[in-house]
Each structure stands twice: as structure tokens, then as C-alpha cells.
Amino acid sequence: MIEVNNLHKSFIDKKDKKNTVKALDGLSFTAKDGEITGILGPNGAGKTTCLRTLYGLLSADEGFATIDGISVTDEPLAARARLGIFPDKFGLYERLTAYEQIDYFASLHGMSGKSKKQAIEQVIDDLELADLAHRKTVGFSQGQRMKVTLAQALVHQPQNFVLDEPTRGLDVMSTRILRNHLAKFKAKGHCILFSSHVMQEVAALCDRVIIVANGTLAAQGTPQELCELAGEQNLEEAFVKLIGSDEGVAA
């Protein structure tokens, strides 16, 4: 379970005090186990800042974030151990093979010996990576890169799984693989937090949607509830309306 409570974060320009960006302004939400929670928000709404706070890379000015009840500021390493991350800009170690890279991340999570080997083989099997496993990742297609990144994020079977715009640049087949995998993960009772700009995808996949605008929570609920709240037929229209006017949310 991922909990974000009243997060505030400002980026202060040291030279020009007036030029301060308030990235998060009291953002709170909860992503529950056994659910896929989607984060929607326009560019610059504070999604990446929020996720980086969640990873423990940034420290909030106010408020806190917990992963399975562990504070990310007090025990960043313990919190991260319960987290699988699919970053927005995923790079691969191009001089390593896919297997070596997955092995590397498994070891970073403290796995070793037989259990590590089994876990790696399991995840390679799940993602149908066997053909690629022992090739160096340089020259991999976007879909293949996505699979390797997914494998490295999932190899330690994290209870919580955060994806930052994972379907960007993926073809239909790769998107489907990803979606199937997320559904399987959800069925096993894991907590999935998912940021995206593709409305259909969010509508189809997410149990609950959180809409973030101007660093704060604009609305939350099931896709259906959001549509009803905004009085629109589809999620895209509802989204535009919800972030566009505060009255819409208040109503």
C-alpha cells in the first residue's frame, strides 16, 4: 500500500527568490493493495515530483509518504525494498545482456543463490524474454527495452509497483503484454500505481483514478465516478473539465 499525505514541495531559485516553483501543494492519496491506481495530470502538475518523493529521492517540505507503512524519509532503503519501479526514462546498461541486467537488480534487492536464479528465470519466462536474455541490450527495440525494464522492476516480486508513463512509445502488442502483466499482478494482491496520459488505457485498466493538478488532488474515484462527477460521457472530457475548473470538483 502506498500512502501520500499532504505533500508540499517547492523548488527555490537561490538567485531569484521570487522565481519559486511550487510543485506539490498538499497532495494526498492512497493506492490500495489489489488495485491499480492511476495518476492523471497535465504536464507540470507535479506527478514526477510526487513519484520522486515516493522513491525517496526528494524530501518533502511538509507531509509524508509511506510504503506499506514505512516512511520513505525515515527509512528510504527499507521503503524502496518494497517497491518496484518502472521509471519514465528507462535506460538500459547497453554493455550488459538482458539476463545480467535483471541479475544486477535482483542482487541489489539482496537476492542471491538459487532463489535469485529461480526468480530471474521466472520473470524471463513470464515476459517471454528467453530469446533475448543472453543478448546485449544495445539495439533492443522499444518493446524489448520495456520488457527488460519491467523484468528488472519485477524480479524481486515487489509488493508495490510504480509505473511512470510506461506505455509511452510502445506498440499495441507491447502495451498488451504490459497490461496483461499488470492485471496478473493485481490479481495476486499487489499494489500498482500507474501514471499515464492515455485516457482509454487508464479507463480500461485502473480501478481508481487520481487526478492531480497544480500540485494538489483535483479529484479521485473510479473512472465511472469521475465521469459522473464531471457530468461527461468519457474520461477525457471529464479530465479536462476536472482540472480546468475548481467548481466542477467542488460540485
Binding site: Y55, G56, L57, R80, G91, L92, Y104, S107, L108, G110
Partner: protein, 391 residues
């Protein structure tokens, strides 16, 4: 295996894999190592030729026709007939007037085994005449001994019987100034290699990883930044150590091909000297890699890292030069990294005994600074500034 060890091992293995699969970076490290011994060999060869060069000596022979073999032997040692002297040198050799008279019954006396007297005439007090006379002396003695040995051999006598006592000369004189230059350059070169060899690996694993978008992912993992920095330091300095080691090995092998005794210089890179040099340079390798990582992690791009770290390389080349020009060196220089080591390396090549206390003092200071750099870098990687610079 404990959790920490598993992580550190995985980090180090990954850094090694990346470093040793990066052929270009390794090439740089190895090129330096291979160039050093070649340069030293070529330079020493040229210097030896200059110093050992035997300029031609022109002698007025009387009765050359009686001893063609002797004349040929003289010619082989660059002792030539006055008649062959080039015009511009004729006057000087006419004035020196070195004359050798070969008796008319040379051939018959030689055949009968009777002693033959050659007469050498010259003004022995003339300084310019002394080296040629010494060379003539040597040439005649060698010629005479060669014939004598053959005569004994024909009679079945072991020629070694003629030399019951043999004098082995060991020159304890300091290597001459010109050769000092070579060893000093080797010292600077070694220092440079310690800085250069690990350079590309250090930049690639810091600024390079940031540019390839893998650093953020790594920082999000449940692993302390200390371990990350340590792993990168270990991998970069390993390459640096390999570079230095290669230079030491290749140099000690290649110096064997150059006969330095000809110029009275004794330069040998034996095992113990090489070991002391390595001991001195090991902390430098770590120090250099730590500096490079520290700088490269703070740059915004790979290119910026390359140019900024490039300036760092100037330090090891610059400091020894400055020190070699200083007449009275302050005591604290001994403690300074790079300065201390370069002075000690200079002393080693001069043949001065190693001051172990100074070695450990400099190494200690160097390692302490390295540790401080690592700690500071580990802290820096946790700061928001680094994270903000990620994208």
C-alpha cells in the same frame, strides 16, 4: 553472505563488466602502458649511441702492407689511415701526429710465433691524443689476445686458464645527468598513467550513466549511495592499477634490451623497485579515480565531464615539474599527495634509500583525502541537487 556484501558484489561486478566491455576506454589505458616502454627504449638507445659513439681516429701507418689483418682490425674500431682522412680534419690529425710503425718482418714473425713490436708515436701529454691512444691500446690488446687465445686453443689449452682472477666492475656512481632525465620522465609518466588510465571508466560510470538515464533508476534502488560510489571507485581504480602495473612490467622488460652499462648508467627496474613504485602509486590510483568521479558526477553532461576532468590530468604532470625546479623544498610538500610521491619516485630513481616513514605518511594522507572525497560524494548523491539535475 550478508545483504550488504551481496549488493556491493553485484555493483562491483556490474561496473567491471561495463568497464571491461568498453573497448575504447580500455584502449586508452593500454595505449599509455605500451607507449611508455617504447619511448624509454628509443630514448635510451639514442642517448647511448651519442655517448658511446667512437669518432674516427686517423693514424699515420708505416708498413701497412705487412699486416693487412691488423689494419682491418683497426678499421673495425674506427681507427683509420691518415690518408683516408677527410680534408677538413686533415690538419688536426696532422698536428696530433699519431704514428704506428709496423715492422717489415711482421708476417714472418707472426708465422713463427715470435713477439712483434709495434711502435706507437705520439705526444702523450696532449689531452686530445689520450683517448685515441687508449683506443689504439685496447685495439692492439684485443687483437693480440684473440691470436694468443687461438694459439692456445690449437694446443688444447683452456683459455680460461689465462684469467684466474677476473675483475667484475660495478659502478656505484650516480647515473649521469642525461639519464636522470629519462628516469624522471618515467616517474612523471607513471603518475600520469595512474591519473589517465582509469579516466574514461570513471567518466563513463558517472556522467555517462547519468546521460544514459540509468543513474536515476540506480538511485531509486534500496542500496546506499556509499556502496554505489565505492563500486565505481573500485572499478575505475582497478583499471588505473592495471595501467600502472603494465607500464612497470613492460618497462622492466624493455630496459633489459638496452645495454645501459655502455654509458656507465645503472638503471634497472628490478622486482623490489617496481614493488615500491607500485606501493607508492596505488593510493594515487584511488585518489585519482575518486577525484575524477567527484568532478564527473557534478557535471551536467558527458562532454562537460570530459573537458573538466581533462584539466585534472594536468595536475600530476604539472606538480612534479614544479617540484623539480624548486631548490629548497618545504617539509610539508612531502605530505602532499602527488608531490610527496613524485619526490619519492625521484629519490628511488636516484638510488637513494626509501624513506619508509615518508612513504606511509604520504600514502596515509592520500588515502585520507580519498576517503573524504568518497564520503562527500556519497552525501552529494543523496542531495536533491543531483536528483534535480537528472532530467
Amino acid at each position: 553472505m550478508s545483504h550488504d556484501l551481496i549488493q556491493l558484489k553485484a555493483l562491483v561486478i556490474k561496473e567491471y563488466r561495463e568497464a571491461f566491455r568498453d573497448k575504447r576506454a580500455l584502449m586508452v589505458a593500454l595505449m599509455m602502458a605500451i607507449l611508455a616502454p617504447i619511448g624509454i627504449m628509443v630514448m635510451s638507445k639514442i642517448m647511448i649511441e651519442k655517448l658511446v659513439d667512437e669518432p674516427p681516429v686517423y693514424i699515420k701507418f708505416i708498413g701497412t702492407e705487412h699486416a693487412p689483418k691488423l689494419i682491418k682490425h683497426f678499421a673495425d674500431s674506427n681507427l683509420l689511415d691518415f690518408a683516408d682522412a677527410p680534408k677538413d680534419e686533415q690538419a688536426t690529425w696532422a698536428q696530433r701526429n699519431i704514428t704506428i710503425e709496423i715492422p717489415t718482418d711482421y708476417a714472418t714473425d707472426m708465422a713463427e710465433g715470435k713477439p712483434i713490436k709495434l711502435h706507437l708515436q705520439a705526444d702523450f701529454t696532449d689531452k686530445a691524443v689520450q683517448p685515441p691512444v687508449r683506443r689504439i691500446n685496447n685495439a692492439v690488446r684485443n687483437f693480440s689476445m684473440a691470436i694468443g687465445y687461438k694459439r692456445l686453443l690449437l694446443r688444447g689449452v683452456d683459455v680460461r686458464l689465462l684469467n684466474p682472477v677476473k675483475l667484475v666492475e660495478q659502478d656505484t656512481a650516480k647515473p649521469d645527468a642525461t639519464f636522470m632525465l629519462i628516469s624522471m620522465m618515467l616517474g612523471i609518466y607513471l603518475m600520469l598513467a595512474a591519473f589517465m588510465s582509469g579516466l574514461s571508466v570513471a567518466i563513463d560510470s558517472s556522467a555517462g550513466e547519468r546521460e544514459r538515464n540509468v543513474l536515476e533508476m540506480l538511485l531509486c534502488q534500496p542500496v546506499s549511495t556509499m556502496k554505489i560510489v565505492l563500486a565505481k571507485l573500485i572499478s575505475a581504480s582497478t583499471v588505473a592499477v592495471i595501467g600502472v602495473l603494465l607500464i612497470l612490467i613492460l618497462t622492466s622488460v624493455s630496459v633489459g634490451f638496452v645495454d645501459l652499462t655502455k654509458i656507465g648508467a645503472t638503471f634497472s627496474l628490478d622486482m623490489s623497485t617496481a614493488a615500491v613504485l607500485l606501493l607508492l602509486l596505488l593510493p594515487i590510483c584511488f585518489f585519482a579515480s575518486a577525484c575524477q568521479l567527484f568532478v564527473a558526477f557534478q557535471t551536467k553532461s558527458f562532454k562537460e565531464a570530459q573537458s573538466t576532468v581533462g584539466i585534472l590530468i594536468g595536475i600530476p604532470a604539472f606538480i612534479p615539474f614544479v617540484i623539480s625546479m624548486m631548490d629548497d623544498r618545504p617539509q610539508w610538500l612531502n605530505w602532499l599527495p602527488i608531490a610527496g610521491q613524485s619526490m619519492m619516485i625521484e629519490n628511488i630513481f636516484k638510488g637513494v634509500d626509501v624513506d619508509w616513514l615518508a612513504v606511509f605518511a604520504t600514502s596515509g594522507v592520500t588515502i585520507a583525502i580519498t576517503v573524504a572525497l568518497v564520503l562527500a560524494l556519497a552525501r552529494k548523491l543523496q542531495s536533491e541537487k543531483v536528483v534535480m539535475a537528472l532530467s
